[in-house]
Symmetry: D2
Subunit: 293 residues, 4 copies
Amino acid sequence: MKIGFIGLGRMGAAMARNLLRAHHEVAVYNRSRDKAEALAAEGAHVAASPADACRDTEAVFTMLADDHAVEQVVFGAEGIAAALAPDAIHVSCSTISTALARRLTAEHSSREQGYLSSPVFGRPEAAESKKLLVLPAGPAGMVDRCRPLFDVIGRQTFVVGPDPWQANAVKLCGNFMIASMLETFSEAFATLRKAEVAAQSFLEIMTALFGSPVYANYGALIANRNFDDAGFALRLGLKDVRLVLAVAEECAAPMPLASVIRDQFLAAMAHGQADLDWSSISQVSARAAALQP
Amino acid sequence: MKIGFIGLGRMGAAMARNLLRAHHEVAVYNRSRDKAEALAAEGAHVAASPADACRDTEAVFTMLADDHAVEQVVFGAEGIAAALAPDAIHVSCSTISTALARRLTAEHSSREQGYLSSPVFGRPEAAESKKLLVLPAGPAGMVDRCRPLFDVIGRQTFVVGPDPWQANAVKLCGNFMIASMLETFSEAFATLRKAEVAAQSFLEIMTALFGSPVYANYGALIANRNFDDAGFALRLGLKDVRLVLAVAEECAAPMPLASVIRDQFLAAMAHGQADLDWSSISQVSARAAALQP
Amino acid sequence: MKIGFIGLGRMGAAMARNLLRAHHEVAVYNRSRDKAEALAAEGAHVAASPADACRDTEAVFTMLADDHAVEQVVFGAEGIAAALAPDAIHVSCSTISTALARRLTAEHSSREQGYLSSPVFGRPEAAESKKLLVLPAGPAGMVDRCRPLFDVIGRQTFVVGPDPWQANAVKLCGNFMIASMLETFSEAFATLRKAEVAAQSFLEIMTALFGSPVYANYGALIANRNFDDAGFALRLGLKDVRLVLAVAEECAAPMPLASVIRDQFLAAMAHGQADLDWSSISQVSARAAALQP
Amino acid sequence: MKIGFIGLGRMGAAMARNLLRAHHEVAVYNRSRDKAEALAAEGAHVAASPADACRDTEAVFTMLADDHAVEQVVFGAEGIAAALAPDAIHVSCSTISTALARRLTAEHSSREQGYLSSPVFGRPEAAESKKLLVLPAGPAGMVDRCRPLFDVIGRQTFVVGPDPWQANAVKLCGNFMIASMLETFSEAFATLRKAEVAAQSFLEIMTALFGSPVYANYGALIANRNFDDAGFALRLGLKDVRLVLAVAEECAAPMPLASVIRDQFLAAMAHGQADLDWSSISQVSARAAALQP
């Protein structure tokens, strides 16, 4: 297939590379052009604008930081909305708000273009090794057309439902599940540190109890207070908790744990942790307990 | 070794049976005698009282429901405290308060008896198949003497620290980790139900994301709203959250998620869920969102 | 002075009337024209549009429901922004977001128009009897020019600071103070109802303890479960809590009580209470305790 | 009447003095005898023990710090329980748990003695000027017998109900109402400090809005960060929030704001604020927002 790919951060670059390796024809665009050119050696066409990346494609992927970036790329000058062919599909993999997903659905539809939300779970290493979980939602026919593409970027594809925004709701709830695990670990570690239990000891027991690599990896980050190499920056974690609370408000479903987590992220922001890994939320519980963070 | 075992609920009976199978000499006691007699066929000596179960033993295990039951068995008439030989060890596996653990430490010590807290993680099936996680804490010499016993009831032993109450703190924090996962799932499922995402779909994605049997099993209970067969009754879950909050207070370490969870358990109690499985905490989020629980 | 007044709900109509009674020349505009015409008998000029209400005025007041309504009136067709004379002042009394207040400040400034945020405290009866608290913020010179107008609509004027959005932050924090009192009352009443203490008894004691008419009035609404005559609709209360949480996020200052209150308002929304008085938040605590709401 | 009075802290001494001034015959007891002797000049008989203070009295008041102190004075050596005459009444004014109130009810009843819970609202100055609010609960006949005594220590008497513990529940809920106001103020002040609004300005507006001396006084303590002269120590505030949460648990009524407040008090304890005024809870919000507390 002939496709476009916009947004070549660590996640996007890895996904685009896997599409290239599966012999798809890929036009790539990134705001800072050097990231696009790095993919030229692997066969990518370097596009000059989002619109250029859409030319003659059946599908264009976007993998961007937030709502604002997606709005720029879709509705801005030389944007996707004006350039994408009728029947071609915009596949949005970014973690964006359900509100923007609904707006994209409506705007593309009014132009007779297709739209799928297809967020993914996985850190950059998972993207590189084709181990993402891919969560498309949208009309079944569109999902079927894109399934071969999903298969080469992830290890498993879960079709969430007929409305694109449902996939964004699931992605946000999933990130809330992880954030809640981080905060839970944080509170337990702080209490046990004051009880003079070794962090390593609690980590081993929880790893054995839950049998989950997610617990093992994040638990180790917190136990070792190793936050500088941000796999996922705390300010993005705050953004996602804000967005899941927006879903909760749309649905009129209270999420009290999510509310607590938001407040902890705010305290972390106040203490200058915006660019640390989001597991550094543990410093908030430590400080509240008068421990050295 | 010659040992006593007091408290033959599903957990205790399975543990005592594994001690018998490892060719230890075990005197068993249970308040309702029939549960003790069920073990006689497997070689147990049926004791007439806690004191009787202590006679000539090197160690006596207790596996009871709560602080009150332990206090009765230790300090009541025909109790352990008055009967245990000097140097023999009381191994308390129950999920009790850190305050009681400290009192047991002091009282046994004043009688020149040994005391270990050794709580366990695992549901009854895990106890039967020797797959418990065993968490002893106390003086190293005592832990070493009991290690062969721990090895035949669990799959792994984690020595928590030199003070027995530390193991109780870890056990309570571990149960808080599970309770928090339950509440997190509950909030996400409620929101997604209002977003018309199939519960099964979210469950599969979270199972793939966390790769944890604990998430798979409890997530399925909540997704299927299957709460009548209580593996762990909600009122016991409330007790454990109350106890972890007591640890938080002793240590002066705020645990805001634990506080939210306690409130959700209270709402569940108000709605008559005391004897349902603790995963039925999900009905609280459902009700708050005006969903059919 | 010659002034315009836009937004003639119960609050706005009362304020406009008091300006007329103080012999100011007032052009009034309301989306549904009948409310404007009701003021014609008292000497108001009925304007055909927001722009028309600005014609030749020194100041134009807006008293509208929310951000959206203000944006329409200012930036929409026949809006204030395009019509207000240089040096004339837009006095925004609505309870809006700090973000919109900053945008209004910038937009009016770029047109050489003045802008003040001047939210008010008080229910409609207070507006009628000139007993509002008026909270202007903005450049001191503009505040001084408008002070005679503030004096005829309120009993006291508090100048909050040099930046208009500061007044909005104060107004939102004040509404949070009231909302928190409502939720606190709600929890206490629910617990005491289960303790079989008469609501009236607790209400009298709290009225004597706090000596506050706000406690007396809202406490009585909750004690008597009298929510149909909405002095302030619950959905507007939710809006204001959402906005104060947005301020908290801008300032990176966690507000955990506000977060809890937001969740309680969401539960109320889920149960169809959007148009009841916001004191009906008490039904949420009642339901959680399995009481008849 | 001939009465005893046990517990002569600032509150108790003022109450005993007002009973003396109303020409009652009062035997006083305090653990440190000097406080009792200070009242001898005003006509009090100095008792040598709680039992001695009960001799030939119709009623004995206790005004003590907590459950433990009351238990000592009632059930300890030379305690009230053993000494009080049949039909004489123990009037407990201390802020104690509902559980202890129920135990006192049962124990006194089994000895044919009377028991009333009669907690009070008011700071020491209010006690001195007979301006307390007095909240008796218990059998109507006993309340009637003691009413003349209540009338000389307070400005108003509110009969709460037929069961003594109900008055303790009301007192704890009232303290929760105040604690919640403190935390609400704390969050608003922290946010507004980051918004560069003067604390004094917000304080004046809230004083005008609520029209309550309680808001004026506590608001000023927080605005001026004046916590060293503890009218009510933070550790006692924590005790009372813990006790109201215990009532919530007995009644199965969630109190999420109370839970948040407990966590904030714990953070304050961790930072060494146990003996500061409880309004210093505001330092917790300040620290979380990275402000200088």
